[in-house]
Symmetry: C2
Subunit: 188 residues, 2 copies
């Protein structure tokens, strides 16, 4: 198992040390701006996700402070296999599909994303290139949480940070179970 | 995607709410007792793992307070697919292999575990039954971290808890990448 050399803890703060300059992402897309502008909508969406059940309005408010929102047209690649990218995506409206190249099986659709779905957590965490491709299948608004923002949440709002880390752990656990038991295309 | 109904956050503390009674585990094995008795050895082992690079001796000392150690003979099943179990395992000496039933492929060996390897994080996190089986391939000493202990660390040593959650996220990210790109049997 090779772990990323890029990804190191900061001994003093317990947060991820940034080795990459903050990337300019989605420069070609219509920026919807800070997520605070859409807080009611985001709260409505996030609150319907069981994983975020226990996040209160105040916590969603803080979380929104660290999110940036974008609007993508149908067929836009939200994430591309092989790309570097230290952020994850939360689908707000529209839909997307996730595809992966599986040795011996070829390019497989492994998930459909609907509002409330997340994608791209792995690269946010380990700093390694994407291993999936995610394409919008309808005009799609989405929010971005970067590794830098996650670090800031851990430092500035440690209790919320801990809840977020536990939520991410549950997401990855569910993904791992699906990977070994792909009974059907997951809706995540 | 079905998330565990058992697994819920505690709104106030941001830690996992326990729905299962603490389980009596490895009742048939020779208990080596609290990990504090083996702290120097555990520090030596953990310190060689890149993921734990930034854990200092003081932090390992605190971590050891929450671990319990056991000795297993060769062929002993450390974890069994389908079993419930809210803990993860850290191999201290010896070795083990991890097998999983993959639909269409059958029972596959997916990893060899050596001292410093961990296994069973997913069930610790989501409270769902094990999806892998792990068998000792030599006489093996191992340490156990339960969900209950993780909760206690998050409450009593939040900074260490944070580092531990980030380490678990990296472990699961690496597992997920391997699941979709099993170029060789992983040594984890």
């Amino acid at each position: 198992m090779s772990y990323s050399q890029l990804f190191k803890f900061n001994l003093d703060t317990g947060v991820i040390r940034m080795n990459d300059a903050a990337s300019t992402i989605y420069g070609d897309l219509n920026k919807l701006g800070p997520a605070e502008n859409y807080m009611d909508e985001i709260y409505e969406i996030i609150h319907q996700i069981r994983l975020f059940d226990d996040f209160g309005m105040d916590e969603i408010k803080v979380l929104c402070h660290y999110l940036r929102c974008y609007a993508a047209p149908r067929h836009y690649p939200l994430l591309k296999e092989g790309d570097r990218g230290d952020f994850m995506v939360l689908i707000l409206t529209g839909s997307a599909e996730v595809r992966v190249n599986i040795p011996g099986l070829g390019n497989e659709k492994i998930a459909e994303l609907l509002p409330g779905s997340t994608v791209g957590e792995t690269s946010m965490i380990d700093g390694e290139p994407r291993f999936i491709t995610c394409i919008a299948t309808a005009p799609t608004d989405f929010a971005v949480l970067s590794r830098d923002s996650l670090n800031q949440i851990l430092m500035q709002a440690p209790r919320l940070g801990n809840k977020l880390l536990l939520t991410l752990l549950q997401l990855l656990s569910a993904r791992l179970r699906e990977a070994y038991n792909p009974v059907q295309t997951a809706v995540v």
